[in-house]
Amino acid sequence: MAAQETGLDAEFRQRVVVVMTTVLARLLDREEPVTEDMRLMEELGLSSTFGLELLLELEDQLLILIDVELMDADQMTTVGALATFVASNSRPA
């Protein structure tokens, strides 16, 4: 779904993507770039523990609180899908 249709702040979502791809590369010790279309578990091998760590880093770096309890497996498919979830389900810390 396009950002405009959901009322999503596209600029904020882009900031989420930038931080997320940087943190993921570090967490997963990956030299190749991480891109939005990559599948978090199958392709990047992200565990649920690293997933929570990723969210914590996003909260710290973007100064937000993420509604983690609302998240389910559907939102954890790709880097881009998770960025959309975070941008739509977070508030300033």
């Binding site: 649920s48 523990t49 929570l52 760590e53 914590l56 983690v68 309890e69 609302l70 389910d72 497996a73």
Partner: protein
């Protein structure tokens, strides 16, 4: 019908912030932060000066209903998460039985369902007493009939007994509960349980699947217990959860479409996961706060993970 006659709980007054466990347990700053931010864990009870025997005795000491009724206690069940808690030949359960004047009772331990063994113990105690009561001269409704005592609670004495990776932090405490085959209060209406041997943490090969199926599996036994009781979630006044962490229950509520404020989560940040005693700890809190009125139905739920996983739910009427 199985009934909880009386419950007593002991939580050591010494509270340890989880930050101070980081060093001894080798937790990273990030892991501690995760526990605090997402799992809602802040402190756990610990008392290095009280032995396991001491913990259990303190819980039993608060069980006023036991005094003078020792001769009626036929079974003592110790519900435990950890298979081994004392070096041979030390046996805290038998020591407690001796000190309480319960040497005549058949005493045994249940550990097979890890943290869900507390609910299993209620079921087993009820079935043993019901079988005995059928042979009693006054039948199963004899109010001076046989009783069972269920003890639970453990020392956080090894690393495995202190922390479950990225999931929970265990706190020390103990409970004692008197069970009868029939009684007016806190009648057990239904019990549902699902043992999943394939989720064995020793191999870890199904850990990802366990994480995916954890909440749906718990929801399934909750619905099954409610069906058996002829009730729906709307009939449930309060849920007494296992105190694994807060986010698990936030997500469970979304899945069940059940209001989060009717799940008693307040003991999680204050006491952590008190092994099999969670249900009894939360029951006592619910009673102290007047959350349960006569006739209210409530639900207790637990998951035991370790050598396989067990999902369990019980419905009671207060």
């Amino acid at each position: 019908m199985t009934a909880l006659e009386a419950v007593s709980v002991y939580l050591p007054p010494v509270r340890i912030p989880i930050e101070s466990l980081a060093g001894p347990l080798g937790l990273t700053a990030m892991q501690v932060k995760l526990f605090r931010r997402f799992h809602g864990l802040r402190e756990v009870s610990r008392d290095p000066d009280v032995s396991l025997y001491g913990l259990l005795m303190k819980a039993a000491a608060g069980l006023a209903a036991l005094r003078g009724q020792e001769h009626r206690v036929r079974y003592v069940l110790y519900a435990r998460t950890m298979p081994v808690v004392a070096p041979y030949p030390v046996n805290p359960l038998h020591e407690v039985c001796g000190a309480l004047g319960l040497d005549h009772a058949l005493a045994f331990t249940l550990t097979h369902q890890s943290c869900a063994s507390g609910l299993l113990a209620i079921d087993v105690a009820g079935r043993l007493l019901a079988a005995d009561a059928a042979d009693e001269p006054n039948g199963p409704n004899d109010h001076a009939g046989p009783l069972a005592l269920i003890l639970s609670g453990e020392k956080a004495f090894t690393r495995d007994a202190q922390v479950f990776a990225d999931t929970t932090v265990f706190g020390e405490g103990a409970s004692a509960c008197l069970v009868s085959a029939s009684g007016a209060r806190d009648r057990l209406l239904a019990y549902a349980c699902n043992v999943r041997g394939e989720f064995d943490s020793a191999t870890g090969e199904n850990d990802a699947r366990l994480q995916r199926e954890y909440r749906p599996s718990l929801a399934e036994v909750i619905r099954r217990a409610l069906d058996e009781a002829g009730l729906t979630l709307d009939d449930i006044r309060v849920v007494l959860p296992h105190n694994v962490n807060v986010v698990t229950w936030q997500r469970m509520c979304l899945l069940l479409k059940f209001p989060l404020d009717r799940v008693l989560l307040d003991n999680i940040p204050a006491s952590g996961h008190v092994f099999c005693a969670d249900m009894f700890v939360n029951y006592q809190t619910a009673c102290e706060r007047g959350l349960l009125r006569p006739g209210d139905r409530y639900l207790a739920a637990a998951v035991g993970a370790g050598g396989g996983a067990t999902f369990a739910a019980m419905v009671f009427e207060h």
